[in-house]
């Protein structure tokens, strides 16, 4: 689409006065609809009572309702109406950052003790990735980012708008609905030394396919040899296995191996703080002095984007993580969420197998986190929607959060129907 600079062509009278009716914005086309939002819109518009929404990327309880964690409600009660809302520092809440780093790097992390981590509070995972991408562009303008195939669609938007060239590396293996480890390793080896890689720390979105611990170790090894920079997007710590320490395993392996990593953390899912936009961007540096310098540069990028980050969610996070009672409550609640997801995976697979499906549905329980890459084709997905009123994205991604004990049988039946001839 050619961008007509309409501003230089003014002609004719306007009903609004001296200005022409051919406006500044005549050349602005409507943006494409977001593929995921469109699913929910269509779902909401459907009057069918037994409709199912498995496109949703947010946790739902067994009744299909959104959940606010008890620990969050308690934290909210403590701060309601009480605090003044003075600007946070540009880098965000120090307390929240400190607690957040402990979660990712470990309670006794040497990097934290030695103050070697440059970290800022960020606008959830998106904001953390974006500031990092801008930082990468500013300080390593010749670098590129290697992104797994597939990945969360917004990753591409983020690095594109940051003007960082993107490359891809093999990740998902459609035939096995698992990890294409050999091809992934090949791509890592073939990338020029010192390349930047985007890795999902746990619960890969959208496939739910994670490397095993052994595989992570091998990946880390090759990264060392190649001198690559690993940037972890960790949006599901705690939410994947139910255990935050376990979900941080990949990161800890890389830290043990001596990588100076970067991490984007989000509290959207694991604390259910979706709309609050709370997260953290961190970069491991050589020493405290470097970390101070890097942090100052991260702040420089944040300042002309939003000046300083929102306080409310940060307060909730720091209250919860710094209060042992609330933290324990949170750990229990995050396990409950993870367990429900895992339970639904088992139920869905069992139901499909009970129906006598000849296909393998092993991947449903092997995959981890909120999403299941079902292997369904776009046509099969369309049939699910049109015939069964089941809504999901056309790449066959099922959000297990939308599966409940009340709809899992129906869902299994429908999937079986559309796949039994294949």
């Amino acid at each position: 689409m050619a961008q007509r600079i309409a501003i230089f062509r003014r002609a004719g009278a306007s009903p609004f006065g001296a200005r022409s009716a051919s406006s500044w914005w005549a050349h602005v086309e409507p943006a494409q609809k977001d593929p995921i939002l469109g699913v929910t819109e269509a779902y909401l518009a459907d009057p069918t009572p037994h409709k199912v929404n498995v496109g949703v990327g947010a946790f739902r309880d067994d009744n299909g309702n959104p959940v606010v964690l008890q620990c969050v409600r308690e934290a909210e009660r403590r701060i309601v109406g009480k605090l003044n809302m003075e600007y946070l520092p540009m880098g965000g809440s120090h307390k929240m950052i400190d607690e957040t780093l402990r979660l990712a790097y470990g309670e006794n992390s040497e990097f934290i003790k030695d103050k070697r981590i440059a970290a800022i509070q960020a606008l959830s995972g998106t904001g953390a990735c974006r500031v990092f991408a801008d930082f990468q562009k500013r300080f390593r303008p010749d670098s590129q980012i290697y992104i797994p195939v597939p990945t969360w669609a917004n990753h591409h938007n983020i690095w594109r708008d940051a003007h960082v060239t993107q490359k891809t590396f093999h990740y998902y293996h459609p035939e096995s609905r698992g990890l294409d480890f050999a091809a992934m390793i090949d791509d890592i080896k073939n990338a020029p030394n010192g390349s930047f890689f985007l890795l999902h720390a746990c619960a890969h979105n959208p496939t739910g396919v994670d490397p095993t611990e052994e595989q992570w170790k091998e990946i880390s090894n090759i990264f060392k040899v190649k001198g690559h920079f690993p940037f972890f997007d960790m949006a599901y710590q705690g939410f994947a296995s139910g255990d935050p320490e376990r979900d941080a395993r990949a990161i800890r392996i890389f830290l043990e191996d001596g990588h100076a990593i970067g991490i984007a953390q989000s509290f959207a899912k694991n604390m259910g703080l979706y709309g609050q936009r709370v997260g953290c961007l961190s970069l491991v540096c050589e020493d405290e002095k470097r970390a101070v310098a890097v942090k100052s540069q991260l702040q420089q990028l944040a300042r002309p984007m939003y000046s300083n980050p929102p306080v409310h969610g940060a307060l909730l996070v720091s209250i919860i993580l710094s209060d042992p009672h609330l933290k324990n409550l949170w750990l229990k609640e995050v396990k409950v969420m993870a367990d429900r997801i895992i339970g639904m995976r088992t139920a869905l697979r069992e139901n499909l197998e009970k129906l006598g499906s000849s296909l393998s549905w092993e991947h449903i329980t092997k995959q981890i986190g909120m999403f299941c890459y079902s292997g369904l084709t776009a046509e099969q997905v369309d049939r699910l929607t049109n015939e069964f009123h089941i809504y999901m994205t056309r790449n066959g991604r099922i959000s297990m959060a939308g599966v409940t004990t009340k709809n899992v049988e129906y869902l299994a039946n429908a999937i079986h129907e559309v796949t039994k001839s294949s």
Binding site: A18, Y87, N157, G194, Q276, P304
Partner: protein
């Protein structure tokens, strides 16, 4: 090897040798991997301990991906507050702060905000993602507040409104829209203006230049200069205007001057781009403070308006504001809104919910709204009264007959005193009045009890320091 962009300043280059030093030391590394670690140059891990293993948590560090990054310059305004905190003098006064303070110089949480938060907690609202464009209820009330609920632009649905991260976030989204759809178009910024304006357009890669605004001789508006510079700008430029309570000078055009500005903007087919950070806070009246924006809208002009609720609702840290684009049709507004969303998605996906709900509750509920108007009048009233007191003190103490009335004419939180850099430094060093070096003081940080002291300081600095 990918080249490293080491920072541009010499100071950082001096740091680089330490990296080479480490690499030199690192000649006896044992690895349990057959490949060599020491590829030379950047991109290698090295260890400080003798034996490498996965169990050594402390030592190994890959230093080099972001080596040589220098310290960013300190923020000129934050530095003021830091210095203030460090000062132990009893008489110290922080006039750098861009946030409202009570007469007791304490931060202020508006009653209506507390009430709104209580309501929200009682209702037990969830924390689901907002849509990319933000909370619908907020977007509705914020546009109505700005333009007036009966304004044709509202009735005809011609305003594309997207909730954003306060004023900064709104400006940044608009800047990104300009960069994408008007490549090469320039933004004109007043001289002086809020410091972050330039950063926003720089980072958004939008070229900018300045138009004359502040006249140091009169400590007032250089109106001729302003008009001339707007006229001289290439047709189709974006003119960044402060809707009310100009930051940092406090000097606003008169209604007649606004008409003239609108004439020139129309004549040159420029796009007016308003930054409205103080609606209601400037004069105490929400409608009066929006009159400049409404004047332009009434002429049928397309315009952009960035709004912030940081000051007028005291929601500084919640980051709540909106970008509004007035278009000629509802269809155009829908298209523009969709593109604003496309810019927001890779920045932060969707905006924070808390502040939006507070605003929607306060503005959307008649009792709360009326209470808010009163609180705002109170805040604006306190600012006006300290202006008066300061003026009275200055006039009483200054025997020279200098006209200090600009203090009364200026409006909003800030005042340009006319003090230069050395004089401002004297204010701090001798009188412990902390302010920015451009002579700007924040009346929001002044109590009536301290007006005399401030007057003494200003007079001394003005007359005895060059």
């Amino acid at each position: 090897m990918a080249s490293i962009v080491v920072s541009l300043s010499p100071a950082s280059m001096a740091d680089a040798p330490s990296v080479r030093h480490h690499l030199k030391e690192n000649t006896k590394v044992k690895t349990n991997d057959s490949s060599s670690f020491l590829r030379g140059g950047y991109g290698n891990a090295f260890v400080k301990s003798k034996s490498f293993s996965r169990f050594s948590m402390v030592a190994a560090v890959n230093v080099s991906h972001f080596e040589g990054i220098s310290m960013a310059p300190p923020d000129p305004i934050l530095g003021v507050s830091e210095a203030f905190r460090a000062s132990t003098n009893e008489m110290k006064l922080n006039l750098g702060v861009g946030a409202y303070r009570t007469e007791e110089l304490q931060p202020y949480v508006l009653n209506v905000v507390e009430k709104a938060e209580m309501l929200m907690l009682e209702r037990g609202e969830n924390k689901e993602y907002l849509p990319i464009e933000g909370l619908a209820a907020f977007n509705k009330v914020t546009a109505e507040l700005l333009f007036g609920v009966d304004n044709p632009v509202i009735k005809q649905q011609r305003v594309a409104t997207v909730q954003s991260l306060s004023g900064t976030g709104s400006l940044r989204l608009a800047a990104a829209l300009i960069e994408r759809y008007f490549p090469g178009a320039k933004v004109l910024i007043s001289s002086p203006s809020w410091g972050n304006h330039k950063n926003i357009f720089n980072d958004a890669r939008v070229p900018w230049s300045e138009y004359r605004y502040y006249d140091p001789k009169t400590v007032g508006l250089d109106f001729e200069g302003m008009i001339a510079d707007i006229k001289a700008a290439p047709e189709g430029s974006f003119i960044l205007l402060h809707g009310c309570a100009h930051n940092p000078t406090g000097i606003d055009p008169t209604p007649e001057q606004w008409e003239n500005i609108a004439d020139v903007v129309q004549e040159k087919n420029h796009i007016p781009f308003f930054d409205v950070a103080y609606q209601g806070f400037a004069s105490g009246s929400l409608d009066a403070d929006a009159s400049s924006v409404r004047l332009f809208a009434a002429r049928g002009m397309e315009l952009m308006v960035a709004q912030s609720y940081s000051k007028n609702l005291g929601l500084y840290a919640e980051r709540i504001g909106a970008i509004n684009v007035v278009c000629p049709s509802a269809d155009a507004a829908a298209r523009v809104k969709s593109q604003l969303k496309r810019l927001a998605r890779p920045m932060y996906s969707n905006p924070p919910v808390h502040g939006a709900r507070i605003v929607a509750n306060v503005v959307g509920e008649p009792d709360l709204f009326n209470e808010w108007r009163k609180e705002m009048e109170m805040m604006a009233g306190r600012i006006k009264s300290v202006r008066q007191k300061l003026y009275d003190s200055l006039t009483a103490k200054d025997q020279s007959g200098k006209d200090w009335s600009f203090i009364l004419k200026q409006i909003g939180m800030f005042s340009y005193t006319g003090l230069n850099k050395s004089q401002s430094e004297n204010m701090t060093n001798k009188w412990h009045v902390f302010m920015t070096k451009d002579g700007r003081i924040s009346l929001a940080g002044l109590s009536s009890a301290k007006c005399e002291h401030l007057a003494d300081a200003i007079i001394d600095s003005f007359y005895n320091v060059v």
